[in-house]
């Protein structure tokens, strides 16, 4: 039905814009925690650049095959990795909440961070992401890192 033109008014809604899940700080903090916990081994620290790339990868489930092929050297095509400052912001949040500590370009998992990792595992959260990290996380060598970022990260 057509409304009388003279009476029409524009109404702009105040409803909130949805924030994609990967942009939510708590989600991303957990991704940082599992990356360090799974890939770093006993030492529980990881190069901050590697954390950034691993988080980029585990967010993008649909591209895991592509990342797997690159990390295992089965494909020479370099997957696209772009700037994602949300991870850096989440690193800062993680530091201020004492989940991690930044020292000499490395992120160290604190005891609080280790506790959070245990909570995630016990509750079956991020199972697929943890599995991906277990299988391929350690394959992200410095050379592979440089290949992905062109040395600019």
């Amino acid at each position: 039905m057509m409304i009388e033109k003279e009476s029409i008014k524009v109404v702009i809604s105040d409803k909130a814009y949805p924030l994609p899940i990967e942009m939510r700080p708590l989600w991303r903090i957990c991704l940082i925690i599992i990356s360090i916990a799974v890939v770093s081994g006993e030492k529980k620290y990881l190069d901050v650049k590697k954390v950034n790339i691993l988080v980029w990868m585990i967010i993008r489930k649909l591209r895991w095959v592509e990342y797997e092929n690159y990390l295992l050297g089965r494909a020479s095509d370099i997957p696209l990795v772009s700037v994602d400052t949300a991870t850096y912001k989440a690193v800062e949040f993680s530091m201020s909440k004492n989940f991690v500590e930044l020292k000499d370009g490395r992120l160290y998992l604190s005891s609080k961070g280790k506790d959070l990792y245990e909570v995630l595992v016990e509750n079956g959260i991020m199972i697929d992401e943890i599995d991906f990290l277990k299988k391929f996380g350690k394959k992200l060598s410095n050379d592979k890192l440089k290949g992905l970022t062109g040395g600019f990260l």
């Binding site: 039905m1 057509m2 409304i3 033109k5 003279e6 029409i8 008014k9 524009v10 109404v11 702009i12 809604s13 409803k15 814009y17 994609p20 990967e22 942009m23 993008r60 696209l80 772009s82 700037v83 994602d84 400052t85 949300a86 062109g150 600019f152």
Partner: protein, 301 residues
């Protein structure tokens, strides 16, 4: 074939040099001299190691004699400013002692220009300028080859305009979308009628197509370029907020209203034109209008 640098305009050359040197020197060691407030004193940039930079991109295709004359004039004019603006430059540099003045140009085509630089160096030294290190001062022409890493970086910045292919929507796909998205489709139908009256069906078809395109486009942007996605979404939210204020003054809601929204969107998104292709930019203007109509951020009562 012309190289990447050959295709840069003089203004682009300046921006390219800034990106290149910022990368080469790092933020702590690099200063840009802004020119919006009473000029730049004849300086483009300076660095902590005591270098003053000027950029110059002479026009292509000029004969050698004219080329040399243009470069020499640039060097001469800008070096003159070192003495003319001695006090202001000295304040700007604080305690940095200058040991070289560099003209950054895409290429140096003549050895005569090196001799010219040497001659000008002597002239400057004889001026005894307070912030010049007379014992070590040189005047030099450099090209981007002297800053290899910075050059690669700056080139990657320039050539990385994002161009995501837009979804091509067939009539069948549109019909399928309409049947699977009844809420959004009803919203579009109702608002198209309100805006266009009896001739609304064509408009509705366009809105559906644009909605499908922007939905897919934003999904790709969010996936591949999350920072740019966040910027675009910020611009869209700001634009919507802006419309909330301006819509108070709209006397009639009609085709002209739609055109105005699209035009205003174009302006709002134009700030991303350096990092996004023209085609992608274009898709945002009508695309966001479609999104607002479908998702009820914009309604008519």
């Amino acid at each position: 074939m012309a190289s990447f640098i050959d295709n840069l305009s003089p203004k682009e050359w300046e921006v390219f040099c800034e990106d290149m040197l910022r990368y080469h020197y790092g933020a702590r060691n690099f200063w840009l001299v802004p020119d919006q407030d009473s000029g730049d004193l004849g300086l483009e940039f300076f660095t902590v190691d005591g270098t003053l930079f000027q950029c110059y991109c002479p026009e292509h295709g000029v004969e050698m004699k004219m080329y040399k004359k243009k470069i020499q004039k640039k060097i001469n004019d800008d070096l003159k400013k070192l003495k003319d603006n001695e006090h202001e430059i000295s304040v700007l540099l604080d305690e940095i002692l200058i040991n070289q003045w560099v003209l950054l140009t895409p290429e140096n085509k003549s050895k005569d220009l090196i001799s010219y630089c040497n001659k000008k160096k002597k002239e400057i030294v004889s001026e005894n300028i307070s912030y010049i290190d007379n014992d070590n001062f040189i005047v030099k022409i450099e090209t981007s080859d002297s800053y290899k890493d910075g050059k690669i970086y700056a080139q990657s910045v320039f050539t990385s305009a994002i161009d995501i292919p837009l979804l091509e929507v067939t009539e069948d796909e549109k019909l399928k979308w309409v049947s699977c998205n009844s809420e959004f489709s009803d919203n579009i139908g109702r608002k198209s009628d309100a805006l266009m009256g009896e001739s609304s069906s064509k408009f509705k078809g366009v809105v559906v197509e644009k909605y499908m395109q922007i939905d897919k486009f934003l999904e790709s942007l969010r996936n591949d370029h999350p920072d740019l996605y966040a910027l675009v979404e910020d611009s869209a939210r700001a634009q919507l907020e802006n419309m909330k204020e301006t819509s108070v003054f709209s006397s009639s809601i009609d085709k002209e209203f739609v055109q105005n929204v699209v035009e205003e969107n174009k302006k709002a998104f134009s700030k991303h034109s350096k990092i996004m292709s023209a085609n992608n930019m274009q898709s945002l203007s009508f695309g966001y209008l479609s999104k607002w109509l479908a998702e009820c951020y914009m309604d008519f009562k």
